[in-house]
Amino acid sequence: MSDRELRVSKIRNGTVVDHITAGQALNVLAILGIDADSGETVSVGMRVPSDRLGSKDIVKVEGRELSQDEVDVLSLIAPAATINIVQEFDVVKKHRVERPEEVVGVLSCPNRHCITTEDEPVESRFDVLDDGIRCTYCDTIVRDSIAEQIDVA
């Protein structure tokens, strides 16, 4: 894509999450805990043309370097995502997301009888399976609707 077509401006310092599965950008922000009140400068591109994916979403977060743990959770909804850490307009680090072994917090259990959905001092925790995730507490398996379990509370 040439600069003339650039829909999302470059950032000076921060993180670019690229090659997000089209349509998942807002879920990516939710996973990263970024909302209207969180203060970061954020650019979002949705369904922009991509050589690799046909179309993709892209998220740029100014002033924040995401950790590997944070971005690994993204692999559940955007397995092809790439992460660029930017300093002074240059990409200084580039990595792909890797499926984590477990996800703590971030997602909520869809089983309404699960103890993690009650008013207890416990975070949700999911083991990551080959084809889904599984609540460590109640064993509920989620396969197709992981994005729906993002805890935006």
Partner: protein
């Protein structure tokens, strides 16, 4: 075996299970030898749901080991009524007891509670999740009556919500057992249990009718189908009726079939079966005491 907590049948290896069952057999053979084994030990009972058998048999087990229980009482009469969290309740009660027994309506409650306490915590049923001590007494009963070699077992009734079924199915993957699951389609095994059985490479088959599989069975484990699982009473009656057994049903069974039930039953096993050699469910309930004595003995450090 020295598990800090007994949360799920999944955590129990064949060696763990056999250690409990062997110890239970020792207890049953000579209960007096265990009478002072845990003098002064106190078992904290935290039952957030009604229970008769489980609570009474844990109490009997603690007392027959020379110990005693401290009981939170009913939820209505406790601080839970004032809005106390489960995490706080168990943290308080662990200061009163050497081990805790928890029954709670939420799935995963025992796992969570165990993360807040240092004394051993025993899951006595977490919602539709697990009930590992029931499984141990079920396994003890199976070993005594049918043995585990080339075992063919049918598990019938509410397989979706029945926690005793989930625990038992997991535990049986440790043994050379063919498991047949017989239920209405709406009450088949949940995805999570099926996943685990598949992962363990267990031999399982699912059926909607008992008749075709009955002649093969060494053990038939019957569970109650509850009316509240169905949208209306007539549908419940029609479906539940297909999973009731009587002496006529059992004419097709082997003479040495062992019929089990975690109890309470309603009408899924006709009373006329009670006096036949098939009936093992009362013995199964009685086995709860030696098995829970054995488990407490091991959890409280009986091997030392």
């Amino acid at each position: 075996m020295r598990h800090d907590h007994i949360i799920s049948a999944k955590q129990l290896s064949r060696a763990d299970i056999e250690a409990v069952l062997d110890r239970a057999a020792e207890v049953a053979a000579d209960p007096d030898a265990f009478a002072d084994r845990h003098e002064n030990a106190l078992l904290g009972l935290c039952f957030f749901e009604p229970s008769t058998r489980t609570k009474m048999s844990f109490t009997a087990a603690a007392k027959r080991l020379g110990g005693d229980v401290v009981d939170m009482g009913t939820v209505e009469s406790s601080s839970v009524k004032k809005g106390e969290s489960l995490a706080d309740t168990v943290r308080v009660v662990e200061g009163y007891a050497d081990a805790l027994v928890l029954r709670h309506p939420s799935e995963g409650s025992a796992q969570m509670a165990s993360e807040f306490v240092d004394v051993p915590l025993i899951n006595a049923g977490d919602g539709a999740g697990q009930h590992p001590t029931q499984t141990l007494l079920d396994l003890y009963t199976i070993r005594e009556s049918a043995g585990f070699d080339d075992l063919t077992i049918g598990i019938m009734g509410d397989l979706k919500y029945g926690r005793t079924v989930h625990s038992l199915a997991h535990a049986l993957t440790n043994f050379d057992a063919d498991q047949h699951f017989i239920s209405p389609e709406s009450l088949q095994l949940p995805r999570s249990v099926r996943y685990d059985l598949h992962e363990e490479g267990a031999s399982i088959r699912e059926h909607t009718e008992l008749d075709p599989v009955l002649p093969e069975l060494d053990v038939l484990y019957v569970t109650r189908i509850q009316a509240e699982r169905f949208p209306d009473e007539s549908e419940y009656r029609a479906i539940a009726g297909e999973y009731q057994i009587d002496t006529t049903t059992l004419e097709a069974a082997r003479d040495d079939l062992t019929v089990m039930h975690p109890l309470p039953r309603v009408d899924e096993i006709a009373h006329e079966i009670d006096d036949t050699d098939y009936a093992h469910y009362f013995q199964q309930a009685h086995n709860g005491v030696p098995v829970r004595m054995a488990l407490l003995d091991l959890v409280l450090g009986g091997e030392q």
